[in-house]
């Protein structure tokens, strides 16, 4: 493993595989699994936006354009690793075991969506930018302290690399020699702010130098390179008990959230160009080219995804509202008198 100043890519946007491609390029079972997950997430995403538009969900941040690396991180992480997501990590969360229903529920304004039933030790999405990086460092400390050979992976946006917490986390993870993978999803924008206004750095990977450890750049839309890099990073982090940073280059193909209108600050042309690099299509074409799937399979996969999402939506829409008690009951293990009183007060309204 080495520092990269150049973006690692094996499968280029036109579907050409480079000669030095790693093993994963031929592990078609895995790739197919990844593809299916990506399609599911893209379908989920589409539906989430539709639910928002029809008033059945609130503000939602689409992951369109970053599914590839997001899904891959979920695939590579071990069950006993810890994941500290930001809010645009549906792909990773899905493969960690967060159910689509839980995701709808969370974005639907219901805390219970964070009560993950299949990955009890993952963090919920963090809204305050970069703050979750420190939680990952703390979790990695706990893992190491308890003698586990696991790591914590934290994901962040490009904008997050301007926040103090991101650097404090890198520095501490380095100083305390903790197995933390910093996965930066550089989708080129922080809401409307383009990466050029965010930093004077040529790459975000170089920021890892401030923590004293390696930083790699990968084409986050290249499934082969992303898988390879994320896997290496996680292995290195665990083996050497040391942090690693990955900058995954993607592009936000959607508005920032359903409350945003990206055409205020970027052109349709730029967006159209970015679509040409889309990772999900790239993987699909690669699988077709290698005769792993055909057009018919593609349609089946999509329809399976639709079914899965539809079922999740149905479940979501059937969820009963919480009791008003729930507003009070999760603040403390031992509820203080004043809260108990206020709870009674509300119940009597």
């Amino acid at each position: 493993m080495q520092d990269y100043n150049e973006m690692l890519q094996f499968l280029d946007k036109d579907g050409k595989l480079s000669d030095d491609a790693p093993d994963i390029a031929h592990q078609f079972d895995t790739l197919l699994k990844l593809y299916k997950a990506m399609v599911t997430i893209r379908t989920f995403d589409h539906k989430a936006i539709a639910l928002q538009r029809t008033g059945k969900m609130g503000t939602y941040p689409s992951i369109l354009g970053s599914e590839t690396v997001s899904v891959i991180a979920g695939a590579v992480l071990d069950k006993n690793d810890v994941f500290a997501p930001y809010y645009r990590d549906q792909g990773t969360q899905y493969l960690r075991g967060v159910t689509l229903t839980e995701m709808f529920q969370f974005w639907g304004g219901d805390e219970r969506g964070n009560n993950f039933h299949n990955c009890k030790y993952d963090f919920p999405c963090s809204v305050p930018i970069a703050s979750q990086a420190l939680h990952a460092v703390g979790a990695a400390f706990a893992l190491k302290h308890h003698g586990k050979n696991n790591c914590a992976l934290v994901s962040l946006g490009d904008g997050a690399t301007s926040q103090g917490d991101f650097y404090e986390a890198m520095n501490a993870a380095g100083a305390l020699k903790l197995p933390v993978v910093f996965l930066i999803c550089n989708n080129k924008f922080a809401i409307s702010t383009p990466i050029e206004k965010q930093t004077f750095c040529k790459t975000l990977a170089q920021k890892s130098i401030a923590g004293g450890f390696d930083g790699l750049i990968v084409d986050g839309n290249d499934p082969i390179a992303s898988y390879y890099v994320v896997k290496q990073a996680i292995e290195k982090a665990k083996k050497e008990s040391i942090p690693v940073l990955i900058e995954a280059i993607t592009y936000r193909l959607s508005d920032h959230t359903t409350a945003d209108d990206a055409l205020r600050y970027r052109t349709q042309e730029e967006l159209d160009n970015a679509w040409l690099k889309d990772g999900v299509n790239r993987l699909k074409n690669y699988l077709i080219k290698n005769s792993i799937i055909n057009q018919h399979d593609v349609e089946n996969i999509l329809s399976d995804a639709k079914t899965e999402v539809k079922e999740a939506v149905e479940k979501y829409l059937q969820i009963q509202l919480q009791d008003v008690e729930d507003l009070f009951d999760y603040h403390y293990a031992n509820i203080p008198t004043i809260l108990a009183e206020q709870k009674m007060e509300l119940k009597n309204v």
Partner: protein, 325 residues
């Protein structure tokens, strides 16, 4: 004269003062081309350029800290925090520096900064987008905290905040950003930063509020008429310093009072108002002071947040109970 919403009024005031004073600069996340997530700064970068409307990197401590350096060196920064829930990374800069620079240098360096932030709940936004933690700031010496509740007051108070030689936290009740329009004259006239507004005169009970809850408070006052209760409504508007003169003389007149705010009750601004009334107008009180506020809880995610909102019904009921005491 033009008919504008509260958020339009903010935009107007910013624009007015930027035209008057070349040292006024705006800094914040996405305030340029995008005009801010609520469009408060819409059109201003186009008009005043990237050097006066600065799209900053994503870092609140930086926004506050840079504003301090800008303000001590001749500029008048108006810094936008995208939501009040994201102001906490800047607490150190605000508390330890912006509010202290004048005092620690005996007037040599000063920080005429306006920190703007939308606050309050019930816009169905994700977590951290519905904060009302104004009382944290109302405790900090050296700071002023101002909250407008109408387009007119937004315009006049923001102008005053910009012209004030000291740091002002200007909290904007986002729920009522676009609630109604009002005719305002873009005449550059500021309002005072230490005077509460009597929104409605009354003789039986004083309802004291600020921020978006003013809406429910005014509705409650209206409803109370049915019960022959004449309610006076005070919008305290300046949370620090609070205009106790207006409050006390009203309570001395009515003898009864209900304090209303959206923030959690314990150690909220309502506590200070109640404590001061109990200290200075105890003998005028014909009934205990009531506080109708948010519960001492984290703002629920939006599916349930309405339960934590102050409602007209709750205010009316508290007022009636106070009257019947």
């Amino acid at each position: 004269m033009s008919s504008v919403t509260l958020i339009d009024a903010i935009n107007l005031a910013l624009q007015y003062e930027m035209e008057q004073d070349p040292n006024v600069v705006l800094i914040g996340e996405d305030i340029g081309l995008n005009g801010g997530v609520f469009r408060a700064t819409q059109g201003l970068q186009e008009k005043f350029g990237e050097n006066r409307v600065i799209d900053s990197p994503l870092a609140e401590s930086m926004i506050a800290g840079m504003s301090i350096g800008m303000s001590t060196h001749g500029l008048k920064p108006i810094a936008e925090f995208q939501f009040m829930g994201f102001i906490y990374p800047a607490m150190n800069q605000i508390i330890s520096h912006a509010c202290r620079m004048r005092n620690r240098t005996r007037n040599r360096l000063t920080c005429p900064i306006v920190f703007r932030a939308p606050f309050g709940g019930f816009i169905h936004a994700p977590e951290h987008h519905s904060e009302s933690t104004e009382s944290l700031f109302a405790h900090i010496p050296g700071l002023r905290v101002v909250i407008p509740t109408s387009p007119e007051r937004a315009y006049g108070l923001l102008l005053a905040a910009i012209r004030e030689p000291d740091p002002v936290l200007f909290l904007e009740p986002k729920r009522i950003y676009r609630l109604h329009k009002q005719e305002i004259d873009n005449n550059g006239i500021a309002l005072p930063l230490d005077t509460a507004f009597i929104l409605r005169e009354g003789s039986n009970i004083t309802l004291i509020s600020f921020g978006a809850s003013i809406v429910e408070t005014m509705q409650a006052a209206q409803e109370l008429e049915q019960y022959n209760v004449s309610a006076e409504v005070i919008d305290i508007a300046t949370i620090k310093p609070i205009d106790f003169e207006t409050i006390l003389s009203s309570v001395e007149k009515t003898g009864r009072c209900v304090i209303i705010h959206e923030a959690a009750k314990s150690c909220g601004v309502g506590a200070e108002i109640a404590a001061t009334i109990a200290e200075k107008a105890l003998t005028s009180l014909l009934a205990p002071i009531r506080r109708i506020t948010g519960y001492d809880i984290i703002m629920p995610y939006y599916k349930m947040e309405k339960h934590n909102m102050v409602s007209t019904t709750k205010i009316v009921q508290a007022a009636k109970e106070t009257m019947e005491y």
